[in-house]
Symmetry: C2
Subunit: 411 residues, 2 copies
C-alpha cells in the first residue's frame, strides 16, 4: 500500500507548532507494511486542502490526515473530504448523542458549532476518540482510504494505536519493514561508517548511520513478506553489528543515556549522587526522568559558585591551584558528593557552558569526574557546539555514558 | 509572492530526523512578504522529487528546498532540478577550485563523487556555503525561483540569513507580515479567549491563541504594504492586549520562564537557591540555560530522598506529620535552602512525577515553595499530564513563573 501523510493547520504550516505527528506516524507505517511516499502540510484553507487531498487521492492508496477536526470554522478537514468526494455531510444521531452527553457530563452547554463533530458522509465511518470530543473519519471509496485524526498528539496517538493501525494491518498484504535502533558513543560517524562498511552495502537488511547528541545511532531495517521473516533478518544482523562495535554500544530504540546508566546501577545495587556545575542540574533531571530512579538516585548538589563547591566538600586549595574547571576539581567534586550524600558512586561535571570563556577556558571545555569506593576517574572533553543548552545537553549525556563505561570497567 | 517549502530526504520522510528546518523557514517568510501555502517532504527518489518540484513549479513563485545537496548518490536535489527544467549539469571550474581547496586545507583527498557539488545548470547560480562543502543553488527561470539549501540546520540557517533572505527581500513588493508573541500564565485558554474576544474578530492585525507548557501564548500579526506600517499596527495592538490581560503576561517572543524570573532577580540584585525533589534538577537546569545566570544563581540541592531533605535542613517532624509531598514540606525546603546557601530567595518543588502515586497522592500533585527574608509562599498545583518528563517540565515552568509573581507582589 502506498501512503501519504497530510498535516492540516495554519499554525503547523507557519511553524508555530512543530509537526511531531507526521514523524511519529511515519515511524509506525513500515511495521504495518505501508510504504510512505509523501508528507505534506497545508493551512486551514478549504481550496488548498481539497487540492492537496485530490493530488493524494490520485497517487496513493492510503491518505492519513491529522488536524482540522475541531469545532471551529477553521477546522475544515471534514468539509474538504466531502468536497473532494462530492458527498454531503449529515449529522448522525448516535454521534450527536455521544457528543452531547460528553458536554453534559462536564456540565457545560455544547456550543452549536460543535455539531459538525457529529457529522459523516456516506463513505465515512466515525473513529471513536476516547480522549476528546472529535471522532476521526475513516473514509473508504474506490479502493482508496482516508484516515482522518485530530491534531492533538495524545488523542491522535491513542486513536492510531487502537483503531487506525489495526484496520490498516487487516488490509495490508503482510509484508513489513521492521527496524531496530542501536546507539553507540565514543566513535566518530566516519569511524563507525568505516568499521561497518562490510555491512553497509546491503540494501535489505539495511543500516543507516545518524549522528545524535548522545552519539552515533544505527538504524537496522529489514523488509520481508511476513513479520517473523523480517525479525529473523534483524536478529541475524544485530550480532554482526555487536561483534564489530562491541561495548561502544550502550542502548537500543528509546533508551536514553540515563536509562543505560540507571540499569547498571540498579543491577549492581549501587546508589548515585551528583555534583554539577556547568550542567546546572541537567544530569539530575535526566536521571530522574527514568521511572524508578528513586531506588538508586540519592540526589545532587548544583554548585554554581566556587563557594558552593567549597561548602559541599571541595577543598579551596584545589580550586585555587587548578581552577574550578579542571580535572582535579572534577575529581574532588565527585569524591565530596559521594561522601556527603553517602552514595556508592559520585558523579560530577564542571565546565564552561558559554557564551563567554571562563578562567581562560573556552566554551565547551568540560571535565567529568567519577568516584567509587576504590576508583577515581576523570574524562576531559571538548564539546564543539555553539549554544549553551547544546553544550549542557552533550556534557550531561557524556557524563552518564562515561559513568556507564566506568561501571563496566571499559574506561 | 507565493511560496512553498520542500524537505528532501528519506530520513526526514520516515521521522528518523524531525524536520525542524521547515518550521524555522516558515516562521521567517512572513517578514519578507512571502506567503507560504504548502510544506512537503519527499524521500530520496528522483522521480518523486521531480514530481513534487513540478507541482510546486506550477503553483508557486518561490520554491525553497532543503536537503539532498550532499555528495552521495542519495543526494538528488541538483539532478532533480536539472531534470525538471530539461537542463544539463556542468562542473564549474571556480566551484571545483573552491571545493578542492576546502579538502586540501584539511589535508583530506577529495572523493571523486564530491565533484557534483561543483556543478550548476545554466539557470542556476551557486549560493556560497561558509559552513560546509555544498554550495546552494539559486535557480531562476520563467519568473520562478528555486532556492536550494543543504539540510544541515547550521549550514542552512547561515545560508538563509546571509544569501537567500536578502535576495527574496529584493524581489518582494515590500509588503510584510510582522509578528510578536506574548506569553501568559495562570489563565485557561478559554478564559484568555473570552477576555480577548473584542480583539479576536480582527483579521488584520490578528491574534492567535495557543496553549503551551508554560501557559497560553498569543501571536499578534500585522500585514501591511511596508514594514513600518505593520510595526505601527502591532505597536497599537500590544497595549490593548496588555490592558486586558495585565500582569499574567510574563514574556515575549523567545523568552522563557527562566529568563523572566532571572531578569527580575537581576534587576533587584537578589540571589536564588533551589531545592528540588520531583523535578530532579530541571529548575536549576532551566535557570542556568540563561547566559549570565551565575550572577544571581547560587546553586541548588536535588533532594530525591527524605534523608537528603532532612540532611539539608528540613525538620523530620514536618515530613512525618505532613508527608514529603505537602505544602508544609515545600515551605520548609525553601526556607532551608535559602538559609543553607545564603541566598535572598529560596525556591522549592516537591511532588509526584509518576507513573505511580506516592504517599497516596496521584502523579501531577506538586507543591512549590518560596522563601524570602520576610515572606513565605506556597503554590499547590495539579498537573494534568500523563508522562513523567511532561509533569516535570510543567512543574519547573510553574515554579519559575510563581517565583516571578511572588517577586512582583502579584501573588
Amino acid at each position: 500500500m502506498r501512503a501519504e501523510i497530510i498535516s492540516i493547520g495554519t499554525e503547523i504550516l507557519f511553524g508555530q507548532i512543530v509537526d511531531t505527528n507526521s514523524a511519529w506516524l511515519a515511524s509506525r507505517l513500515p511495521s504495518l507494511g505501508v510504504d510512505l511516499y509523501y508528507v505534506s502540510t497545508v493551512g486551514d484553507n478549504q481550496g488548498r486542502v481539497v487540492q492537496t487531498l485530490r493530488r493524494a487521492w490520485e497517487r496513493s492508496d492510503v491518505i492519513i490526515t491529522t488536524g482540522g477536526m475541531g469545532p471551529t470554522e477553521d477546522d475544515l478537514t471534514r468539509e474538504s473530504i466531502a468536497d473532494l468526494l462530492g458527498e454531503t455531510m449529515q449529522v448522525m444521531p448516535d454521534l450527536e448523542e455521544t457528543l452531547r452527553s460528553r458536554f453534559s457530563r462536564r456540565a457545560i452547554p455544547m456550543p452549536e458549532r460543535n455539531i459538525k463533530q457529529a457529522t459523516l458522509i456516506p463513505s465515512a465511518q466515525a473513529i471513536p476518540n476516547p480522549r476528546g470530543s472529535a471522532p476521526g473519519w475513516w473514509t473508504e471509496r474506490d479502493g482508496r482510504i482516508i484516515a482522518s485524526m485530530p491534531g492533538v498528539p495524545s488523542e491522535m496517538f491513542l486513536m492510531w494505536e487502537q483503531q487506525v493501525a489495526p484496520r490498516l494491518l487487516e488490509r495490508s498484504d503482510g509484508s513489513v519493514i521492521l527496524s531496530k535502533i542501536i546507539k553507540t558513543n565514543g566513535l566518530s560517524e566516519s569511524l563507525v561508517d568505516e568499521m561497518l562498511s562490510p555491512l553497509l552495502s546491503s540494501t535489505n537488511p539495511s543500516i543507516g548511520v545518524y549522528a545524535k547528541s548522545d552519539g552515533i545511532h544505527l538504524r537496522l531495517s529489514a523488509k520481508a513478506a511476513r513479520p517473523p521473516e523480517a525479525q529473523a533478518m534483524l536478529d541475524a544482523l544485530e550480532p554482526r553489528v555487536h561483534a564489530i562495535l562491541g561495548d561502544v554500544i550502550w542502548g537500543a530504540d528509546d533508551e536514553t543515556p540515563a536509562v543505560a546508566a540507571g540499569r547498571l546501577l540498579k543491577e549492581r545495587g549501587l546508589t548515585l549522587a551528583t555534583m554539577e556545575s556547568c550542567t546546572g542540574g541537567l544530569v539530575g533531571s535526566m536521571v530522574t526522568d527514568v521511572p524508578g530512579s528513586s531506588t538508586y538516585y540519592k540526589g545532587g548538589i548544583i554548585t554554581y559558585t566556587n563557594a558552593m563547591k567549597i561548602a559541599h566538600g571541595v577543598h579551596p586549595s584545589i580550586i585555587e591551584e587548578h581552577g574550578a574547571v579542571s580535572a582535579e576539581t572534577a575529581i574532588a567534586m565527585a569524591v565530596a558528593v559521594r561522601e556527603r550524600l553517602g552514595a556508592d558512586v559520585g558523579l560530577s561535571v564542571t565546565g564552561v557552558a558559554g557564551p563567554d570563556p571562563s578562567e581562560g577556558k573556552s566554551p565547551g571545555t568540560v571535565f567529568i569526574g567519577i568516584a567509587t569506593a576504590d576508583n577515581q576517574r576523570v574524562m576531559t572533553g571538548g564539546i564543539y557546539q555553539q549554544h549553551r543548552p547544546d553544550i549542557k545537553l552533550r556534557a550531561a549525556h557524556n557524563a552518564l555514558l562515561f559513568l556507564r563505561r566506568v561501571l563496566l570497567g571499559i574506561e
